[in-house]
């Protein structure tokens, strides 16, 4: 079977008609991973026993003619910053080497309740800090479209897995673009819901006011199906929103004629690769052909987003990562005193980028700098938020490039942290203001590299976002 063409709907259809068993599908995917992973390095851990037990449970239901849940038999991959009971979870870090969590993240539990088959854990930048996957302590992931290039980050393993037929869908996390940017680089759909839409219980925290869990999939319909089972209030996450979840699939195929789309001029300035610009403009034209009203809008504080983000994200990270001290989990550096144990364990086991961000965040929060950096950044966050509120008074959604360039070469930016940070220039603001965003493919560069188109909608209006993205896909937008 051609695994890279499978969708959630197709899997469910095959499994319920018993044309193929969930067990066979899981085995085929595991075999394909075994074959491809040496090159791609997309998976860090496989959990075949767990996968096959779940697949067998689905097959028993199918055999008994019972109604199957929405993700029945769908092979999925989970980013290694999301905890899985008994299955090693490292966050791409040596400080959590060998850590087997005692519980499942709510997102994972909900996927499994919906019949999904968890194959294993995907590689990522250490603690989700990075835009290329080169910050993983377990080696970089390679882009399936060109293995000399990065898959994007930080959820690079999940994006590569879905792009290469290693999983039908996958979970990632997005703090500054870590779902949408790798989705764009790998040519798949990547969805970040509104802040609080999906429970983060069991997501290893990076920056708590920015972190999201969301899906990667090959079609917008699949992304909607996965989001549907994950979304909604979870008492175990006090930041999860108590807002009703609509039926995303019910409105997915509604026409988009008459919807108002805003093109923020600040997202098309200097630094945007001409090929990316051309494809995204073609994508915007496709929305016009679908009957959308397109107009230019302004998000005037866009230029300040990266600076704002790198204070807020690192400040929160420096606090969240204080828990890794060699006491409760992970290995410990031999020392005579607790102080030396903390300092050495952390110094030896965190990677360079994580240390850099802890240092930056600690500095920004330290006495004498708190007002100048941390509070200043939070005030700028308010200005960015107001930009979006104003724009959404005029339009239903915003359309932008996902990233300024297609996938870059492994090693190209790894010595220049600032250049790497700028890879997230079009994605970070979505996290800062909490709106939902999706990246969908909009064709390829001349060199055959995927290009991503990004849409934002109003808070909690994922239904509109998915409807627009689906209309774009149905109109051939993925292959412009």
């Amino acid at each position: 079977m051609e695994l890279s063409g499978l969708t959630v709907g197709k899997v469910r259809e095959l499994v319920s008609a018993r044309q193929v068993s969930a067990r066979e599908l899981a085995q085929q995917h595991l075999a394909h991973i075994e074959k491809r992973n040496a090159e791609l390095n997309a998976f860090l851990t496989l959990c075949p026993e767990r996968a096959l037990a779940q697949a067998d449970a689905v097959d028993r239901k199918a055999k008994a003619g019972e109604p199957l849940p929405p993700l029945a038999g769908v092979p999925v991959a989970i980013k290694d910053v999301i905890v899985t009971r008994g299955v090693p979870t490292t966050a791409g870090s040596r400080i959590l080497e060998g850590y087997a969590p005692p519980y499942d993240a709510t997102a994972v539990a909900r996927l499994e309740q919906a019949g999904a088959v968890v194959l294993g854990k995907t590689n990522c930048d250490e603690f989700a800090m990075g835009s290329s996957n080169e910050n993983s302590a377990y080696g970089p992931v390679r882009n399936p479209h060109d293995t000399a290039r990065v898959p994007g980050g930080s959820s690079g393993g999940s994006a590569a897995a879905v792009a290469d037929g290693l999983a039908v869908a996958a979970l990632g996390s997005d703090t500054g673009g870590s779902i949408r940017q790798p989705a764009g680089f790998c040519g798949v759909a990547g969805l970040m819901g509104t802040y609080g839409r999906v429970s983060r219980y069991g997501l290893i925290a990076f920056a708590s006011s920015l972190d999201h869990i969301g899906p990667f999939a090959r079609t917008v319909r699949d992304a909607a199906a996965v989001m549907q089972v994950m979304a909604g209030r979870d008492p175990n996450d006090s930041t999860s929103a108590d807002v009703p979840v609509p039926d995303y699939l019910a409105t997915l195929d509604q026409p988009v004629k008459g919807l108002k789309l805003g093109v923020p001029k600040e997202y098309f300035g200097a630094g945007l690769d001409p090929e990316v610009r051309a494809k995204v403009e073609k994508g915007i034209a496709r929305f016009r052909e679908l009957g959308c009203e397109v107009r230019e809008v302004s998000l005037p504080h866009t230029d300040y987003a990266i600076a704002c983000y790198y204070i807020i994200a690192t400040a929160e990270a420096s606090s969240n990562l204080a828990r890794y001290d060699g006491v409760r989990y992970g290995p410990r550096a031999a020392s005579d005193t607790p102080e030396a144990m903390y300092d050495r364990t952390r110094g030896q086991r965190f990677g360079a980028e994580v240390k850099r961000r802890i240092m930056l965040g600690t500095y920004a929060l330290s006495a004498g700098y708190y007002e100048a950096y941390y509070l200043k950044a939070q005030r700028v966050r308010t200005l960015l938020y107001r930009d979006f509120v104003e724009a959404f008074k005029q339009v239903d959604a915003l359309v932008t490039p996902t990233s300024p360039t297609p996938a870059f070469k492994i090693g190209e930016k790894s010595d220049d942290p600032l250049a790497m940070y700028l890879a997230d220039i079009y994605t970070v603001t979505g996290d800062l203001v909490g709106v939902p965003g999706i990246s969908v493919p909009c064709g390829k560069s001349k060199a055959g590299l995927p290009i991503g188109l990004q849409l934002f909608s109003r808070h909690f209006d994922e239904a509109r976002l998915l409807q627009l993205a689906n209309a774009f896909e149905q109109a051939g937008g993925f292959n412009l």
Binding site: P102, S240, M359, V380, P417, V433
Partner: protein, 99 residues
């Protein structure tokens, strides 16, 4: 230079990070470049703009007013299972108090 090597050593101590001398040097240079970039925030006048610590706070119950009731939690043996050193009741660490 905004950051001296001494500043970096001070912040590393606050962050409980033991850094090699070469790391300290590189860190000072890289943080300096990043802070210089971040300084552009000062071009914005944010007088009378409230700081935003989180978005959409009104969409979730206020955790500070939830009922203070005991909920089921992780069994002790599971909570201790991943620790590098534990004695069945407590996490163990190197000796804290000198005899």
């Amino acid at each position: 230079m905004k950051l001296t090597r001494k500043d970096v050593e001070y912040v590393a101590a606050l962050a409980h990070l033991e850094l090699e001398p070469a790391e300290l040097e590189r860190m000072a240079q890289q943080l300096d470049a990043i802070l210089e970039y971040i300084d552009q925030l000062n071009r914005l006048d944010t007088t009378n703009v409230e700081p935003m610590a989180q978005v959409l706070a009104d969409t979730r119950p206020n955790p500070s007013v939830r009922e203070d009731a005991v909920q089921p939690s992780l069994p002790r043996e599971q909570a201790l299972a991943a620790a590098p050193d534990a004695d069945g009741t407590f996490f163990k660490v190197p000796k804290v108090i000198e005899r």
